[in-house]
Symmetry: D4
Subunit: 214 residues, 8 copies
Amino acid sequence: GYAKVDHHREIRNGFPEVIYCEGKTIDQVKGITLAMIQRGSSILGTRASKDVYEGVLEIAPDAVYHASAKCIVVNPKTQQLHPERTIAVVTAGTSDISVAEEAAVTAETFGQKVDRIYDVGVAGLHRLLAQLDRLRKAHVVIVVAGMEGALASVVGGLVDRPVIAVPTSIGYGASFNGLAALLTMLNSCASGVSVVNIDNGFGAAYTACLMIKD
Amino acid sequence: GYAKVDHHREIRNGFPEVIYCEGKTIDQVKGITLAMIQRGSSILGTRASKDVYEGVLEIAPDAVYHASAKCIVVNPKTQQLHPERTIAVVTAGTSDISVAEEAAVTAETFGQKVDRIYDVGVAGLHRLLAQLDRLRKAHVVIVVAGMEGALASVVGGLVDRPVIAVPTSIGYGASFNGLAALLTMLNSCASGVSVVNIDNGFGAAYTACLMIKD
Amino acid sequence: GYAKVDHHREIRNGFPEVIYCEGKTIDQVKGITLAMIQRGSSILGTRASKDVYEGVLEIAPDAVYHASAKCIVVNPKTQQLHPERTIAVVTAGTSDISVAEEAAVTAETFGQKVDRIYDVGVAGLHRLLAQLDRLRKAHVVIVVAGMEGALASVVGGLVDRPVIAVPTSIGYGASFNGLAALLTMLNSCASGVSVVNIDNGFGAAYTACLMIKD
Amino acid sequence: GYAKVDHHREIRNGFPEVIYCEGKTIDQVKGITLAMIQRGSSILGTRASKDVYEGVLEIAPDAVYHASAKCIVVNPKTQQLHPERTIAVVTAGTSDISVAEEAAVTAETFGQKVDRIYDVGVAGLHRLLAQLDRLRKAHVVIVVAGMEGALASVVGGLVDRPVIAVPTSIGYGASFNGLAALLTMLNSCASGVSVVNIDNGFGAAYTACLMIKD
Amino acid sequence: GYAKVDHHREIRNGFPEVIYCEGKTIDQVKGITLAMIQRGSSILGTRASKDVYEGVLEIAPDAVYHASAKCIVVNPKTQQLHPERTIAVVTAGTSDISVAEEAAVTAETFGQKVDRIYDVGVAGLHRLLAQLDRLRKAHVVIVVAGMEGALASVVGGLVDRPVIAVPTSIGYGASFNGLAALLTMLNSCASGVSVVNIDNGFGAAYTACLMIKD
Amino acid sequence: GYAKVDHHREIRNGFPEVIYCEGKTIDQVKGITLAMIQRGSSILGTRASKDVYEGVLEIAPDAVYHASAKCIVVNPKTQQLHPERTIAVVTAGTSDISVAEEAAVTAETFGQKVDRIYDVGVAGLHRLLAQLDRLRKAHVVIVVAGMEGALASVVGGLVDRPVIAVPTSIGYGASFNGLAALLTMLNSCASGVSVVNIDNGFGAAYTACLMIKD
Amino acid sequence: GYAKVDHHREIRNGFPEVIYCEGKTIDQVKGITLAMIQRGSSILGTRASKDVYEGVLEIAPDAVYHASAKCIVVNPKTQQLHPERTIAVVTAGTSDISVAEEAAVTAETFGQKVDRIYDVGVAGLHRLLAQLDRLRKAHVVIVVAGMEGALASVVGGLVDRPVIAVPTSIGYGASFNGLAALLTMLNSCASGVSVVNIDNGFGAAYTACLMIKD
Amino acid sequence: GYAKVDHHREIRNGFPEVIYCEGKTIDQVKGITLAMIQRGSSILGTRASKDVYEGVLEIAPDAVYHASAKCIVVNPKTQQLHPERTIAVVTAGTSDISVAEEAAVTAETFGQKVDRIYDVGVAGLHRLLAQLDRLRKAHVVIVVAGMEGALASVVGGLVDRPVIAVPTSIGYGASFNGLAALLTMLNSCASGVSVVNIDNGFGAAYTACLMIKD
Ligand SMILES: Nc1ncnc2c1ncn2[C@@H]1O[C@H](COP(=O)(O)O)[C@@H](O)[C@H]1O
Ligand SMILES: Nc1ncnc2c1ncn2[C@@H]1O[C@H](COP(=O)(O)O)[C@@H](O)[C@H]1O
Ligand SMILES: Nc1ncnc2c1ncn2[C@@H]1O[C@H](COP(=O)(O)O)[C@@H](O)[C@H]1O
Ligand SMILES: Nc1ncnc2c1ncn2[C@@H]1O[C@H](COP(=O)(O)O)[C@@H](O)[C@H]1O
Ligand SMILES: [Mg+2]
Ligand SMILES: [Mg+2]
Ligand SMILES: [Mg+2]
Ligand SMILES: [Mg+2]
Ligand SMILES: [Mg+2]
Ligand SMILES: [Mg+2]
Ligand SMILES: [Mg+2]
Ligand SMILES: [Mg+2]
């Protein structure tokens, strides 16, 4: 077929290629999955609908579906990436959780422990401050926030570790599908904050895992 | 001349017309000032350069120039708008101070007391929390912030009074001259926050004074 | 569950947390509603479909649905916020009414009287001028307008009270889903106008109620 | 030289070609002027600095400079375009006057009478309503406004003649150099309003004169 | 009900109010239609689906539906607006025809003759030049074009009458739903071109009719 | 130094590296020029001020400065790229000429003959049609236009050769520094038109020369 | 009917008119097809759904449907455009293939050989470098890429032939439906790259074929 | 004074507060510097002109000025952050070097070794591939690129460490002052790439140092 699976990626980049299922047919996803199973890869399919999962089940009966994350996982890494290190995944609201779960499931598939700290947006600061200990224990913090995305700056000012900010498309009107949160995060007055694409939980976790594994 | 000074405004809208000096010649500003002096108005000129001030001095020897605010004041209100009420004017950084001063001087010209709380941006949250008492005493809070503008949301979540957010053009790159801060503030996850134009300290104070005077 | 309801908000911010139903499952909304009922809160759910309402009815049989506003109300405040004060809610066209109703229902849920003045856009100025008395009696005016949003400036020039402008996404082509109206309102040549997010009737009413309650 | 003066334009389009001086050298403007003088054309140079005017004076000693309009006129039409018809040129503020003057001088050069109605923006509606008679006498109305540009809609709702709206780059922040006014005018809820480019006083007057001459 | 039909509009603005059906319920359209029938108005409903038409038929059995224009007409003007004058409605492609028809039907409802010149875009210039006579006979020309909208400039350079340009949302990719055509038309190097909103055939015809009726 | 001159480019890409002088110091330009002279390269410096040219003269006394194009040329190709083929460089206005000259000088430095056809914008179509023969003789046509950029589409419809469109930043207001012309050209309804960056005369000529040389 | 098929185009522009099916009814497409069949034209319908194809089959039983390309072909050219020349069509990912196929099918319909090189995006550079020979054999290279569109620059630096870049709307978030890839390609630091509209595979192939046929 | 230096930052965030000199007066910078000197902090002033440096020299005679980076350094860290780890700072062109130097000087001030790899943009891929060893030795890679910013994706695909991408404002036309490069980097098809604000060399280095120090 036309797809050229980048089997070499794990050696070159540290982690296996991941299947971005959006816009692929069920057959295409199955084909790529099969090729990767045959090489013994861990398999992660992101942006996968329930239907795609059911297709994958036919060739990988032990595939697991994480509904909120919209991820399919087959044969995840069983060895911990780094036993003493944690990634904190933090969200501003409950609507940001599915993007956060894409990040969390990605990290877990790569063998990495995650600490989920959800719904601690800055409108009720006490909720965030109550979790300060957990935040400060993390080796990297992924902050997932839509609307105005202010949480990344506040967290960035509270920790001494890198913060990866994920703007989400949650919001309406002048949120312009995540543009407002994206700009907020890029302009963060707190240092140590870098940013990935809108809704890109996967990319944030991939980057975080690179930091973890050393 | 062509200008139609809206002398009727104080009766209709509660405060006298204010002279926006940007793009007006010194003679135009002097002309309008004279017309207003003759009617006994308080006079506030915003966005005024030192040169404009020197012109105005010729016809109004007691005019005062507030350099950081770039405001000229003649004959300010001496009666307090409301003796028990305060407007807090808060800034995220030191670069936002000149916009904040435009707000503060506007309010003071209208007879209103101001509490200045500057350089308390969210990257160092302890600086803001240390001022919580002053913030909570205010009848209205004006939050002035550039870059990512997150301060408005954090303040909005801490007080039970209206917050007027003023995005500033401070920043670079993806701040797009204040657009990032503007979008942040419009999307604030804290309720009770409304927004005025980028760098519009005057407008924020005018609105705040309308709330104060009842 | 993951949601951290901010029960503390009423004390801190003056009004209880409000449930933004868009993008939440029926079960999530029911869960949050239940938690708030148990604490005796007034409950307001915005952007709620008929289906969500029916779900809520199961646990709150006296819940009321305001179809045009798309709001669910349980246990509204019965005590008036301030008996002598009114919020005027004004719209430019008939298509802006549902956003206006979100504002009106929000205020009423918080115990505040509302005066609805609808379909008085500037293309037929006599319709607006005919309502001048009602406008001038209001303590705050909420102006709801889409397309070019000019109504906010005209109203701002006619009253001596704060105007909260709500741009709506009504329009087509170069209205860019409310962006045109938003920019119009931010640039208002009338002083005393502040702006909330596109279609954010709730936010306007919340801010207005903060002004009312003192 | 490289420039191909479109001498045929008056026959084809009704009015002679006009020299847009911005970005042309003084020598280029003089060259084009000379070519047009030799054919007996009326000459209008727009966006002309004082320096360009002084250059033109050397070859056209009766050239007149309209400083506020930044226009050079040589040999204007002496015959009235239509003796009974007037173009009203209306501005919102005093800062919009130079664009309005570009429109007025263009029309006058083409032999057309103009009624100037300046500084009647919607923030003080009584100023506009006081001029209703003059407005309604016009055959076409040109509305020149920056900031939020709401004046076009209000005028459009008051007259039964075509309104040509000219957004200006006057304003700051979210006016985005005239974009806000442009969008306002394109979305006007009043019918009969069409729009030209930001600051294009010339284009508005040209179009108006086409309407006048029949 | 809430709608305030502007019955006074015909006297003030020259033509009756027109019903914009998009986003109105069938009952709302019927209600407004009824109120206008009772006053003997001509009725034009734009952006009307077949369903809305069927609803209107119940109360106005002689209502006519123009499917391509998506317009409902009841009781059109029978007296010609001006017997010797024509509006030419020109399109670049066949996909622009429905916007052109909105313009044509609007004009015809107001009693005005229209000359339709369709599918003469600049990619095949001979098609346009073949219609030069018809173009030059028109009192006003409405140019309807999507994609790059270049037709307005070319027509503007060929006629000595006003051109009203209507950008359409036809196109894809960098047409940004009509934005490209809109900008093209606003920047037209041909004089005498003014512009209305994207897809606003109605507005173009309304303006054209104001020019026709004198 | 830090610069790594890509001497290998001529072999790999067909033409030598070109020095983009904007933002480089005179010393940097001189350094790169020297390195290229030593290898016997043809040298083209674009966006060069008179000052940079004078610096280069010190090390390359036969350097030539093309003022309108803002180009420095040393040691141009003397062998014709293809004796029977011509590139037509066409502009809409006289203000677009300097971008056109950047294209023309680039091609000439690479040994390619150019036919300049300037000031033939679509507002006066007869000027363009009068040059049809020259246009149709060209092997490639470069169309340089600002404001609305419609010329690219019209030329594209008249020739059977590739058209390379160069939007220019000429214009004001809604031309947004060339964005309007760029969008026009990308959406061209004529086939065979491809587009380079705003004001990128160099890039257009480079691409054209690749087509010429085969 | 209203459509004016440009039968003259093949003589004037080198290739027959192509039917853009998006937004046309099945009957319209059939009508145009019939008119072209009668003249013996090759027929290419782009953006055609299966349904449109089935309609066309009724009048052209030998019509072929290319599902991935969404193209209908009737009576393709049988004579090769140029036997020794090839167009390489290159994609970054598998999701870009349908746009690439529109390009490939267009070229093949015009009698031109195509070399497909798919899924060689820059994240795994070895995949691209492995195809260097095929790339360098091509007379023109069409690069089709979404997301960040970096492939065009990399290819542009590796070949000495013109590169036509086609941004695709593949991606999410800050890809803004192809805008990111479009800007990338317009700013390419590699020379010899020109750009067509987002997803415009047809236009790229048309331009490439003009280069091939000489 | 008004400035509240965040002396606590080093403890909380790992590195001392840094002085952003843009828009501050010389006196303000001197004041903040003095306060920090008194506490024994390392001092880094970014975006500092030569004039500001001269002011600082008066109070800190051993201050060093890095002209290309526009940075003032007083009392840099002498202890290495991590002796075995390197940050590679990579640029696409020579014009990106000053942003890269801001990054490099920041890291060096914090005690971190930097490997500079400049002018290796993707238009000449061999230049980058020649540095592959150095790239792969780095613990973090900072990629600094303007124009289309493609280098970040290519580097991201070649290394197994985190890449921090810094878009620069280098370019013209459709680079929109760095927006094109920013979007490219956010949409990178290579995983492990996160992004900071346009021209934000400081922020990239700060984040990189957090990764280094563990
Ligand atoms: N949710 C996601 N968001 C962004 N990129 C992703 C996502 N999931 C997978 N990817 C990337 O997309 C690549 C596969 O793209 P493709 O070749 O089109 O299937 C993978 O190697 C990942 O780097
Ligand atoms: N700094 C400012 N920002 C925004 N609006 C202002 C400012 N200063 C004054 N204004 C408003 O501008 C009006 C005067 O505008 P003009 O008629 O153009 O002089 C005043 O009545 C104020 O409402
Ligand atoms: N102020 C103006 N704004 C817009 N267009 C203008 C202006 N003044 C002149 N023009 C137009 O610019 C054309 C001349 O352009 P050019 O050939 O570049 O000199 C004239 O024929 C007018 O149509
Ligand atoms: N197709 C249309 N496009 C733009 N405006 C329209 C259209 N049809 C009607 N209108 C305008 O919309 C007004 C009615 O708006 P509304 O009060 O919301 O029903 C009419 O008076 C017309 O001026
Ligand atoms: Mg919550
Ligand atoms: Mg500070
Ligand atoms: Mg109405
Ligand atoms: Mg005024
Ligand atoms: Mg056609
Ligand atoms: Mg010209
Ligand atoms: Mg792939
Ligand atoms: Mg270089």
